[in-house]
Subunit: 314 residues, 2 copies
């Protein structure tokens, strides 16, 4: 998330270490995709199962006192589903653990359930089990979602190729400061519609910021990316009252839960000419050889795009 | 857990409500077992998949400052595996979310991983994905384990029949006050050895206390139970320095992570005559018609056994 980039960077380091530490633990025959993608992929009964876990912590990912318990439950479920969307998988079922602060009201606990349930129902992902415990800390919920490829090859982060077009769904910026980070719809149907029409090379859901999440695709794929400043779909309320360049907000804020994907240029043209979903698809740049992100501005001016969000240059 | 019975009872109420609220959400064809058992069972690729989530919170289920980060990681994984043991399933893979207090040291984060990994390796359950976030609250970890029946019918809580023998593995009491709640081995191999030799009718892992967990089997099965006081396997250090009847500790303490199962009396005799595992199996009572638990003492004296632990009568 944009508002705690320093923490996120520290987490990224530890996650990177965890990923390396998992080396040797996994049997590639049973676990075709291990830690480091939006979902892991595990073989069950000859079928590939996508598995992802995501946690929502009050005060970090939501402000429950301001936003309400129902919004908390809603977002906990929607965030987890967004990871399944990023693989173009179909949700199957979920389990959830819930840590309730001591003295938490039963009404609020039921409201969390209602919010969660509304999203589960809308996206066909029943919660089949869970765990509830009391905590001295903040309200927290961890949701594990199982998904099935169901005829569509899981799209990984690692497949971006030099020359690919980079595309995004929807618009970016300001989500945390508006209600959008609470109300977003995980792009399950859109991901499946797009992936069933075009051979996607790589995909991720943009939860930590367009630039940061695109940099993850690049690192996993061993490539770099150029982003066309004028092409980035900036949400109308991206600045959200801040004295900030809306483009910087779009690149760095996070919490958008839109899809970022890469695809061969011709396939991109076909998608743009005949969109497979109602949500807008925008071509925002291209995959290039090398590493890191470059922002291409007016007149072809190029500047490095930091994966923690972009500060407008001179 | 024994040490916070009031919280546990309140959680039980909410969990019961959640279970009822899930009614109508689940397609029994896709989800043969929903919320309320040790694992849910979901159909994937024609195979049944057992899924369970369990969370470990510092200050509730462990005291990380005293017990160490490695013990925290160890217990987080072992607790989750214990739920898979309770179905007699074989672990397949896990995902974990980890909430790290701000300022948590990298060394301690790596120690959590080492403890988790030692258990994952010992029980063949690799962690294939995860989520790490910073929290203002206590250290917390939520582990979701996937398991496969692998030739053994999943054993539910709901199958206990009047006349069944009630059996337990290992010994009970004082686990929280000793190191046993940190060092226990989830009874995966034992559950599978027992279930492959005898048709178990019901099973649960005793994490919240022998009496409470047995009462859950009874409630799920619509039966009652009689427990023979003299037969309960009491751990040598069950009192753990407290002025408490060791039997009361064995019945009420919790954190034992032993198996409780019910089986036809003849099958029980066969198990006891030729034990399928090195861990002791003890017959502790019988399933009866009705509801609730009865403790049968010296001379056949009978008294109600409260599911929150037993206070010795006059």
């Amino acid at each position: 998330m944009g508002r705690c980039a320093a923490e996120t960077m520290r987490e990224n380091d530890f996650i990177e270490w965890l990923r390396e530490a998992a080396g040797g633990e996994l049997d590639a025959g049973l676990v075709p995709v291990g830690p480091g993608d939006d979902c892991a992929v595990v073989l069950v009964g000859g079928e590939r199962l996508c598995v992802s876990v995501d946690q929502l912590i009050d005060g970090v990912h939501v402000e429950a006192a301001r936003d309400g318990a129902e919004a908390f439950g809603r977002k906990a479920m929607a965030r987890a589903l967004s990871d399944v969307a990023a693989m173009a998988a179909a949700p199957l079922a979920a389990v959830a653990s819930l840590a309730l602060p001591r003295g938490f009201s039963r009404d609020d606990a039921e409201a969390i359930h209602r919010g969660r349930r509304a999203v589960s129902d809308a996206f066909g992902c029943p919660v089949v089990g869970g765990d509830v415990a009391a905590t001295d800390g903040p309200l927290a919920c961890s949701v594990t979602v199982l998904g099935r490829p169901d005829g569509i090859e899981p799209v990984l982060r690692a497949g971006a190729r030099v020359g690919d077009a980079i595309c995004a769904t929807g618009a970016f910026g300001g989500a945390w400061l508006t209600a959008r980070h609470l109300q977003f719809a995980p792009r399950i149907a859109e991901a499946r519609a797009i992936a069933s029409r075009a051979a996607l090379h790589a995909m991720i859901d943009a939860s930590d910021g367009l630039a940061m999440d695109l940099s993850r695709v690049c690192r996993a794929s061993g490539v770099g990316a150029e982003v066309d400043a004028a092409a980035v779909p900036v949400a109308p309320d991206a600045a959200a009252g801040r004295a900030i360049d809306p483009l910087a907000a779009a690149l760095g804020d996070g919490e958008d839960y839109e899809l970022l994907f890469t695809v061969a240029p011709e396939a991109c043209e076909a998608l743009l000419a005949d969109p497979p979903c109602a949500v807008a698809i925008t071509r925002i740049g291209r995959i290039v050889a090398g590493a890191g992100l470059t922002l291409v501005g007016a007149g072809g001016r190029r500047e490095p795009l930091a994966p923690t969000g972009w500060e407008h240059g001179t």
